[in-house]
Amino acid sequence: MKKFSKVIAMSLCIAMMLSVAACGAAPAPSSSSAPAAPSASASSEASPAASSEAPAPAAPVAPIDSITAPVSLVHWQHTSAARNAIVTELAEGLMKKNKNITITTEYMPMGDYNTKLLPAMAAGTGPDTMQIEAGQFERFVKNGNLQPIDERVIPVAEFESAFIPETLSALKRDGKYYGIPTDVQTIVLYWNKALFKDAGLDPEKAPNTWEELQEYAKKLTKYGADGKIVQSGLGMGGYSPVVESFMLQCGAKLVDDKGKFTVNTPEVLEAYTFASELVTKDKVYHPEFMSRWTAFRTGKGAMVFGHPAMLGNFIETAPDVDFGVALVPEHKGNRNVAVTSWAFGIDKKADPLAASVWLDALTNEEAQTQWAVKTGEIPSRKALHDSAEINKDPRVKIGIDSIKSASYGKFQVSAYGSVWKKCWERLVLNNEAPAAVLADAEKQLNAERAKLMAD
C-alpha cells in the first residue's frame, strides 16, 4: 500500500512539476497572443529616422509660443510598438520646440486600457490627454469629462474641411469639437501568395467578388484525416466591423432615422447568411481552429479580413509570409466597408491650450504621414489621401483607397460588439438560423442602446 502511494505521489509530482515548468516557459507566446488583434505594429526600427523629423504643430494657428509658463501633460494610449515609438518621438520634438512643455507618455495594453482610463478619469487622477474610442466620446462629453479642442489651435472650420467626415460625427457637441480623429480603420483583405500558388490560383490576384471569395476560400481550405481543418481558406471570426461591412455591401441601413437599430432586415439577413455559411456550410474556418491571426501569421490561413493597420503588424510578426493586400470583394457592385476610429481628447482638468497644441502635434499632416508610412494607418486628414509619399507603398495605398467607399461604423460601443460576438457564436457553434439570431440581435442592440441613452 505504501509503495503504491509513493508511485502515485511520484507521478502526480512529476505532472505538477511539468505544469509549473510550462508556466515558466510561457510568457513569450502568451504575450503575443492576447493583444494580437486589431492594431498595427510595424517595425520599431523605423523610429530613429522619425525623431529628426519631429513635426511642428500646424503652423498657421498653433500658438505654441504663447505657452510661456511651465505645463506638464500626461498622455495615455493603448500600446502598439510602432505607434509608441512615433508618439514618444513627437512628444520629444514638441518639448524641444517649447521648453515649457513637459509631456509624459504612458502606454498600456488594449485589454486593460479602458478599465484603467475610466476609473482614473472618474477619480481625477487620469491623464491630461488620451485616446478614446469614437463610440465612447458622446458619453464622456455629455458627462463633462472632456473639454473642447482649443479653437486657436484647430478652428471648427478646419475640422470640417480637413478631416474625414465619418470620423467627426461622434466628436461634436454644441458646435465644438472635443476630439481629434485618429486610428481610422476600414477593412481590407490580406492574402497569402504562396498558398494561392499551391492551390493553383493566381498569387497576384485577390478575389474580387463574393462568389470568387467563396470559391477561393473553399479551394484554399485543407482538412486532416480526422476531417478537421489544417489550413483555413478564410479566417472568419465574426469580428463586427467585418460582418458590418458585408451588411453594408448588401445595402443595409442598420439604423432608422431615430437612431434605433434595424438589423432584422432582408439585407442584413443576406449578408449574415453568406458570412456564416462560409463557416457552417463551406467549412473554410472553424472557431476551434487557431485564431485567424495566428493562422495567417503561421501560413495556415490563406486569407483574412483585417484593418489596414494590420499591415505593419504582419510585416513585423509574419516576416516569412509573402502577402498581398486588397480591397474587400464587392457584392452587386458595392464595396462599402465600415469605418471605425478613435480620437484624442483632453481631460477637463488639463491646460486646454498646451493639450491642444500637443494633440495637434500628434495629428497634423506631418505626424499623420509618419503614422501611415510606418503603421499602415489611414490618415484622418483627407489631404493626405493623395500624398505621393504615403501612396508610394501599394499596400498602404489599398488602405487609403478603402476609405473612399466607407460608412461610419454603427457598432463602435463595446456592448454592441459583445452582442454581435455572441450572435456569431450562436450561428457557427449552435447552427441556429440567421433570421432568428438577427431578431434577437435587434432586440439586444436596442436594449443596450436604451441603457446608454438612459445614463
Binding site: M16, C23, A26, S30, N114, P119, N143, P287, F289, D455
Partner: protein, 288 residues
C-alpha cells in the same frame, strides 16, 4: 499619560490597526459603498449620478445574462467535492514520513503560489485544439482531440480542471495539518482490532478531519462565487464560462454601468450570505 495596564491593553490594537485600516479602506468601505451606488445610474464618468430607486434590481431580474452567469457559477460547484477529494488524496500521499516527501509537498503546492493569470494563459495554450499539448498527447494515443475551452460543451470542464491543478495544493496543506494531528495510537488500536486500512480511513481519518472539511467547504464555496481571473482568461464561447463576477466586471468597467454592477454585487452578497448561514446550520459549526 497611560498607565502600564492601559498601555498593555492598547498594544494589540496598534499591531492590528494597520491591517484593519487597510481592510477597511480597500474592502469594507468600497463594499458598503456598493449599496447606495446600486440605487443610482452612476456610470463612473458621470459626476452627478441620479437616484433610480429599485430600477437596477428590477432590470436585473429581467436580464437573462444575470441568470446565465449565475447558473455558470453554480455549475462550477462541482469543483468543490473534486478539489476536496484531490487535496485529501495528495495529503494522504505526502503524509508518510519518508525521504522526498518535502519535495512532493513543495511541488504539489507550487501551483498555488503561481500567478493565476500567468498560469491560465499557459493553460489556454495547453488547451488549444489545434496546437495545444493536451490534444497532441491525445493524438499520440490515437484519440481525436477535443475543443477544450473553445467548445461550449467542454469549456466549463476545462476551467474546473485548471482550478483543480491550481487549488489542490492549498487543500492538501490544510488536510495535511489535520492528518498530523490525528494520534497514531488510534490507527495502532484499529490495526490490533483487525481493521483494514480502508476501514481505518473511513472510521478514523475522515471523521477526525471534520473541522478541516467544514472550514474548506465554507471557504471553497465562498471562493467559488468570486471566480474571476480564471474565467477572464479561459473565456469560452457563448459566454459558457462567464461567471457572475465576470459579468459584474463587464457591466461596471467595460459598459460603465456601475449602478447596475453594484446591484448585482448586492445580490451576490446576499446569495453568499445565505449559503454560508445555511452551511453553518447544516454542519452545526457550534460543535467544532
Amino acid at each position: 499619560m497611560l498607565s502600564s495596564k492601559n498601555r498593555n491593553k492598547l498594544i494589540p490594537y496598534l499591531f492590528v490597526g494597520p491591517a484593519i485600516l487597510y481592510f477597511a479602506s480597500v474592502t469594507l468601505i468600497p463594499a458598503l459603498m456598493a449599496l447606495p451606488i446600486s440605487f443610482t445610474n452612476w456610470s463612473i464618468t458621470n459626476p452627478k449620478p441620479r437616484f433610480v430607486g429599485f430600477s437596477n434590481y428590477q432590470l436585473l431580474f429581467q436580464d437573462p445574462m444575470f441568470f446565465e452567469t449565475t447558473w455558470n457559477t453554480i455549475c462550477m460547484a462541482s469543483y468543490i467535492p473534486l478539489v476536496l477529494a484531490l487535496g485529501l488524496l495528495l495529503a494522504l500521499l505526502v503524509n508518510a514520513k519518508s525521504f522526498g516527501n518535502v519535495i512532493y509537498r513543495v511541488t504539489f503546492y507550487a501551483p498555488v503560489v503561481t500567478s493565476t493569470i500567468a498560469a491560465a494563459i499557459v493553460f489556454e495554450w495547453l488547451y488549444d485544439p489545434s496546437f495545444g499539448l493536451l490534444n497532441s498527447i491525445l493524438g499520440a494515443f490515437g484519440i481525436s482531440g477535443i475543443g477544450w475551452v473553445k467548445d461550449p460543451n467542454t469549456s466549463l470542464m476545462s476551467v474546473i480542471l485548471f482550478k483543480l491543478w491550481k487549488g489542490a495544493g492549498a487543500i492538501m496543506i490544510i488536510y495535511l495539518a489535520g492528518l498530523q494531528d490525528i494520534p497514531t495510537e488510534l490507527y495502532e488500536s484499529a490495526a490490533l482490532d483487525g481493521a483494514s486500512n480502508t476501514k481505518a480511513f473511513f472510521r478514523i481519518t475522515l471523521p477526525l478531519l471534520r473541522p478541516q472539511h467544514i472550514y474548506l467547504l465554507m471557504t471553497q464555496t465562498i471562493g467559488l462565487f468570486m471566480i474571476f481571473q480564471e474565467t477572464y482568461i479561459l473565456d469560452g464561447p457563448l459566454d459558457s464560462t462567464k461567471t457572475i463576477v465576470n459579468y459584474i466586471y463587464t457591466e461596471g468597467f467595460k459598459n460603465m454601468r456601475m449602478g447596475y454592477a453594484s446591484a448585482m454585487s448586492m445580490i451576490l452578497f446576499v446569495l453568499v450570505l445565505v449559503l454560508a448561514v445555511a452551511q453553518k446550520k447544516i454542519v452545526k459549526l457550534d460543535t467544532v
